[in-house]
């Protein structure tokens, strides 16, 4: 089966699974309400302590785009869990002539699209209701860094999906935990200068830090003060390495994990308790 067909059909499947539990109106309401409610926790924390506007704006953009990190990275690794334990179709997907790697990429793509709706709605809400000043004066920089970031995040999700094949249900925790690492060390909701020095050093090694920084610079016109010395070009270079590097790594690691799962005979194990 061609790669494109696999990709298209799995993207369609992902969309159906996310949306067909409710009528379109209810789904639209859910798609709007959920992301806004998600952001509001941190918004209220910032309001409670009356934080400065620029910090609030940084936090807002970081929280909004973090949705991609959580939904795509965690979501892709969750596909293995769902298809194996719940729908019990994983073995059939592996048996099919289509490449499961592209099946997962298709699922990542549908999650990206669904998340994009949520991101756009929330950005609009922020601009109109929360008075976040979005200027969007670097569209090309934004587009290129966004695409590279998403590729890297999806690839990371596939690496986690491979690891999920080898683990019991705790693969749920892997996704959640990694999301926690990025939430803490990529300056999503607070400036990086607050972290201890080792934390700041670690954050500068994480590609998501630069992805969020690129997004902030493009949308707000400024970024995290800890990264003032890093130019747009350096950020772009880091993201290029991230995107391509993780893509290659995901191909290798997913194959390795799949082979290992087949050797151990655990490809279709059910471990729900």
């Amino acid at each position: 089966m061609s790669i494109i067909k696999t990709f298209k059909s799995s993207a369609w499947l992902g969309w159906e699974m996310e949306s067909n539990w409710a009528n379109p109106f209810l789904f639209a309401l859910y798609s709007i309400a959920r992301p806004i409610a998600g952001i509001f926790l941190v918004v209220l924390m910032y309001w409670f302590i009356d934080a400065p506007e620029n910090l609030f704006a940084l936090m807002f953009v970081g929280s909004v785009f973090y949705m991609y990190i959580f939904n795509v990275l965690f979501g892709v690794s969750w596909v293995i869990q769902e298809d194996r334990e719940h729908y019990k179709v994983l073995k059939y997907i592996f048996m099919a002539p289509s490449n499961i790697y592209f099946y997962l990429l298709g699922r990542a793509f549908s999650k990206t699209i669904i998340t994009t709706f949520a991101v756009l709605i929330t950005l609009l809400f922020g601009a109109l209701v929360l008075n976040v000043n979005i200027i969007f004066d670097k569209p090309l920089f934004f587009l290129l860094s966004f695409i590279l970031g998403i590729i890297g995040i999806a690839a990371f999700g596939i690496i986690m999906a491979g690891i999920s094949l080898l683990l019991v249900r705790h693969n749920f925790y892997i996704g959640e935990s990694l999301a926690g690492v990025f939430y803490l060390f990529c300056g999503v909701i607070f400036p990086l200068s607050v972290l201890p020095s080792w934390g700041q050093s670690l954050s500068k090694l994480l590609p998501m830090t630069y992805w969020l920084e690129a997004t902030r610079r493009s949308l707000l016109g400024f970024g995290d003060s800890s990264l003032e010395g890093v130019t747009d070009l350096q950020i772009f270079r880091n993201l290029l390495m991230f995107g391509i590097g993780f893509l290659i790594l995901s191909l290798i690691s997913f194959k390795y994990c799949t082979d290992l799962a087949k050797k151990r005979g655990i490809l279709d194990m059910t471990t729900w308790h």
Binding site: K88, D268, M269, T270, T271, W272, H273
Partner: protein
């Protein structure tokens, strides 16, 4: 001596206390709303199953077998009508029935993959309040009888389908139910395992005065082990009797079987069923005829269509023939 009298008297009381009818169904109907349509899964079903009987329910997919079992297992309400298990109304007093029944379905996926065979059976025994010591004894005995002792400590995500089904049967029997519902229990199970399950069931029933309601596609299974069989189609009971009496319905009729060269499309004046054997490159045609006078016509018609007959023989009607006669199609259609 007094002990003997007492024990006999006790048995007599218990025997008399046992309802004569294990299952009684009165005009049971069940509709399902599926958005656009309404599906009638059961249509005025009446049935009485005696205590100690192994009762078979034969029907194709969608005939209402599983719906009937679910109602009797208190998992589904009927739309109208009544059903009783051990004399207790399944809708009005379901909690009184639950301790007396159990169900095993074919290709059942219940259980927890991370637990062992023994642990899974133990878990379900505890839901019926069986003391651990007694549960252990029963589980040991059942595992031995069904050949699962060596797999007792294996996590169930590592066992085969046949072993899983045997484990499911252990789960159904460990609670020692008065009435056991078996919904196609040998589906997906190899021939030997299927035979083991059937043999064990017969032994279990005979020794303990238990009742089994078995739904199956497997005509041979139904003929071999069922005391009585009901044929159900589109929610209605079409026939109900012992297998031999049912076959008597076709006593005057003849089964004609022909082996021919392999035929792709064939239509004849007389109705028939066809099974192709691609290994031998032959087709097996089967006719249910009122009398032998049709035989020359059939042969002549086949000859005109250049069909080469390799062998020809008459046989006795089977339950499958009854089914086709009553329902108008094969059980697998």
């Amino acid at each position: 001596m007094y002990g003997v009298y007492y024990y006999s008297f006790k048995l007599l009381i218990e025997f008399n206390a046992m309802p004569t009818l294990a299952i009684e169904i009165k005009n049971l109907t069940r509709y399902f709303e599926t958005g656009k349509d309404t599906v009638k899964a059961l249509d005025g079903v009446n049935l009485q199953i005696r205590t100690g009987e192994l009762f078979g329910l034969l029907g194709s997919n969608g005939s209402g077998k599983t719906t009937l079992i679910k109602i009797l297992c208190t998992l589904l309400y009927p739309t109208s009508g009544e059903a009783f298990v051990s004399g207790i109304n399944v809708v009005k007093e379901p909690e009184k029935i639950r301790g007396k029944i159990n169900m095993v379905a074919g290709e059942e996926t219940s259980g927890y993959g991370i637990l062992t065979v023994r642990e899974n059976i133990w878990l379900f025994s505890q839901l019926y309040g069986i003391e651990s010591g007694l549960a252990k004894k029963r589980i040991d005995a059942l595992l031995k009888l069904l050949g699962l002792t060596k797999r007792a400590h294996t996590r169930i995500h590592k066992i085969s389908t046949g072993e899983r089904q045997k484990m499911n049967l252990c789960r159904g029997l460990v609670t020692d139910p008065d009435v056991l519902f078996l919904d196609e229990p040998t589906v997906g199970v190899d021939v030997n395992s299927g035979r083991t399950i059937r043999d064990y069931l017969l032994k279990w029933m005979k020794n303990n005065g238990k009742t089994v309601l078995l739904t199956t596609h497997n005509m041979v299974e139904a003929e071999e082990i069922c005391d009585r069989v009901a044929i159900i189609d589109k929610g209605k009971i079409l026939a109900l009797d012992t297998p031999s009496n049912l076959k008597q319905m076709l006593n005057n009729e003849i089964i004609l079987e022909l082996e021919t060269n392999i035929i792709k499309n064939l239509s004849l004046k007389y109705e028939f069923s066809k099974v192709d054997n691609h290994e031998k490159n032959t087709s097996n045609l089967r006719f249910l005829l009122k009398d032998e006078s049709a035989v020359p016509d059939i042969i002549s018609e086949l000859s005109e269509k250049d069909v080469k007959i390799k062998s020809l023989y008459k046989s006795e009607p089977t339950l499958e023939d009854i089914f086709i006669k009553l329902v108008g199609r094969n059980i697998n259609e």
